[in-house]
């Protein structure tokens, strides 16, 4: 009886060991099949874009394409900056100071992903209830700092990584 039990245990061990090795093998094959769908080297190579900003007048903005997504570069007027900073934090669904969204000393330059954080549409400029952007897809309103104020979008429009290469050039990414 005890001898038989021992035999069964030995077989159990072999089964478990085989299944484990098999599972590791299957996993090792599946991972490349999944990861091949992630952005490839060519896509990653597009990770930075340099933009000449010397021609943008105060109050105007341009849109450039970075990683296939639009980026808004807006040169804000002092009034617009003042308006963005006067907002009460309690009125914001995703509270964030305007100062946190721009580079210090370059407060007039708002550089942000022109992508609605709801479902990815491109908001229209100078529209909406808050003097900023309005997304036509599902009605999200953003303020002059690109912060969400009203509508289904959960967060403020994203600020990408960027730096001033010189006073006339911004490098995004």
């Amino acid at each position: 009886m005890s001898k038989e039990e021992k035999k069964v245990n030995r077989r159990d061990f072999l089964f478990t060991a085989s299944y484990t090795v098999g599972a590791v093998g299957v996993g090792a094959v599946i991972w490349p099949m999944i990861d091949q769908m992630n952005p490839d080297k060519a896509q990653q190579a597009l990770a930075t874009t340099e933009v000449d900003i010397s021609n943008i007048e105060p109050g105007k903005s341009i849109t450039v394409l970075w990683r296939g997504k639009p980026v808004f570069l807006k040169r804000r007027t002092p009034e617009e900056i003042a308006e963005a900073r006067a907002v009460n934090m309690d009125d914001l669904p995703d509270p964030q100071m305007d100062e946190e969204r721009v580079k210090e000393g370059k407060d007039e330059w708002l550089v942000m992903l022109g992508v609605c954080t709801h479902l990815g549409c491109v908001p229209l400029k100078d529209k909406g209830d808050f003097n900023g952007w309005f997304c036509p897809c599902h009605g999200s309103h953003y303020d002059v700092s690109g912060r969400i104020r009203k509508g289904p979008a959960p967060t403020n429009m994203e600020i990408p990584k960027f730096e001033f290469v010189d006073s006339n050039t911004i490098k995004i990414g």
Binding site: I34, M37, N38, P39, D40, Q43, L46, T63, L65, R67, G68, K69, P70, T117, H118, L119, G120, C121, V122, C135, P136, C137, H138, G139, G151, P152, A153, P154
Partner: protein, 419 residues
């Protein structure tokens, strides 16, 4: 399955059948005992098979001329429309075919809801059917992206962004789906690959769907269990095949009407503008067959909540056989449920309508009421009505109401008397 043993007549047939019983299968499908009272709502299984084959055949032809590249896709579709011999016809059949496919599948699903075809012992047929429906939606969505017009691009953007609502891993999943940092060439390429794959997955599930159907046999308008074969059944061929063929002809007339007279009426003119990642069209609307779910998505003022509710609206159907507590299948004998059934039909139509309208004002209110009712129907109405409803007497067999001019109380049994 209770047919008598089949033996092929010819020697060659017997030789083959001993090695692979294809002829037995053929005989089973021919003789398959079918309830003799099936009405025209039962012809949509055959119509759907026709739709699937039409989409596969026209799709294979289109793939011979289409180029799945962001720079070339739009031009290659125009090339199909203008240069390829009969390209316009094949493409219009394929694009309208998708709509006809959904029209048929919705009738098929609502037929099942009315006559209780999803109930025991047919739950597995129902669940496989829903899996087919999900795959159909995936195939239709990806197919709509392939022409790489404005609606293609922004539809793809909005739908893939639904996954970004998932906490923590949402953005990684979206990037993974795209193969880029936005909807781009890699996205188009993989959607084409998957769009080509899915119909064959559907075909496999259709085989399982029919196999699962042939175990208990067809439900019928009276919704009672019948003996097979008996005086309540007829052989599938020629009785059902000829009825299916007639219905299919009528269906094809409507289909041809769209293809030849209004081939673009179900599409959006914005999709004849090449995709532009910098400009979103003013009104992003999905194809008509997805509108009710789109209305549910937009009725919730919260991103994650909207996405969850939209997917729940589909997945709740999977547990429907267990939400319905009534023992009586057919709504013909369920006076209360029958009314709620029609309210649900109207509710879904309203959701479809407001899904096409801007999400504001009265439309938003309607969408919210419609959404709430949609879920109430399945979560509350179905279990409660099934429990409380006093059903009409149901006949002992199909022959009775037909041959004796209606179910008389004396020969009818009452099923729903509480124990």
């Amino acid at each position: 399955m209770s047919e008598k043993e089949y033996t092929p007549k010819s020697k060659a047939g017997k030789w083959l059948n001993d090695r692979l019983p294809l002829l037995t299968l053929g005989a089973h499908l021919t003789d398959y005992p079918t309830p003799k009272n099936l009405n025209y709502w039962w012809t949509f299984g055959g119509i759907l098979t026709f739709c699937l084959i039409t989409q596969i055949v026209t799709g294979i032809v289109l793939a011979m001329h289409y180029v799945a590249h962001a720079d070339l896709a739009f031009a290659s579709v125009e090339h199909i429309m203008r240069d390829v011999n009969y390209g316009w016809l094949i493409r219009y059949i394929h694009s309208n075919g998708a709509s006809m496919f959904f029209l048929a599948v919705y009738i098929h699903i609502f037929r099942s809801l009315f006559y209780g075809s999803y109930k025991s012992p047919r739950e597995v047929i129902w669940i496989i059917g829903l899996m087919i429906y999900l795959l159909m939606m995936a195939a239709a969505f990806m197919g709509y992206v392939l022409p790489w017009g404005q609606m293609s691009f922004w539809g793809a953007t909005v739908i893939t962004n639904l996954f970004s609502a998932i906490p923590l891993v949402g953005d990684s999943i979206t990037t993974w789906l795209w193969g880029a940092y936005s909807v781009d060439n890699p996205t188009l390429n993989r959607f084409f690959s998957l769009h080509y794959l899915i119909p064959f997955l559907i075909l496999g599930l259709v085989v399982l769907h029919i196999w699962a159907l042939h175990v208990p046999g067809n439900n019928n308008p009276v919704g009672i269990d019948i003996k097979k074969p008996s005086k309540d059944t007829v052989p599938f061929h020629p009785y059902i095949t000829i009825k299916d063929a007639f219905a299919l002809l009528v269906f094809m007339i409507i289909f041809a009407g769209f293809v030849f007279f209004t081939p673009n009426v179900l599409g959006h003119s914005d999709n004849y503008i090449p995709a532009n990642p910098l400009v979103t069209p003013a009104h992003i609307v999905p194809e008509w067959y997805l509108l009710p779910f789109y209305a549910i998505l937009r009725s919730v003022p919260d991103k994650l909540g909207g996405v969850i509710l939209m997917f729940s609206a589909i997945f709740i159907l999977f547990v429907l056989p267990w939400l319905d507590t009534s023992k009586v299948r057919s709504a013909v004998f369920r006076p209360i449920y029958r009314q709620f059934f029609w309210i649900l039909v109207i509710d879904v139509l309203i959701l479809g309508y407001v899904g096409a309208m801007p999400a504001e004002g009265v439309y938003l209110v309607l969408a919210r009421v419609g959404t709430i009712y949609y879920f109430l129907h399945f979560i509350v109405v179905m279990p409660v009505v099934g429990y409380l409803e006093k059903t009409d007497p149901i006949p002992m067999s199909i022959s009775e109401p037909v041959l004796s001019g209606g179910a008389e109380p004396s020969i009818a049994r009452k099923v729903n008397e509480k124990v």
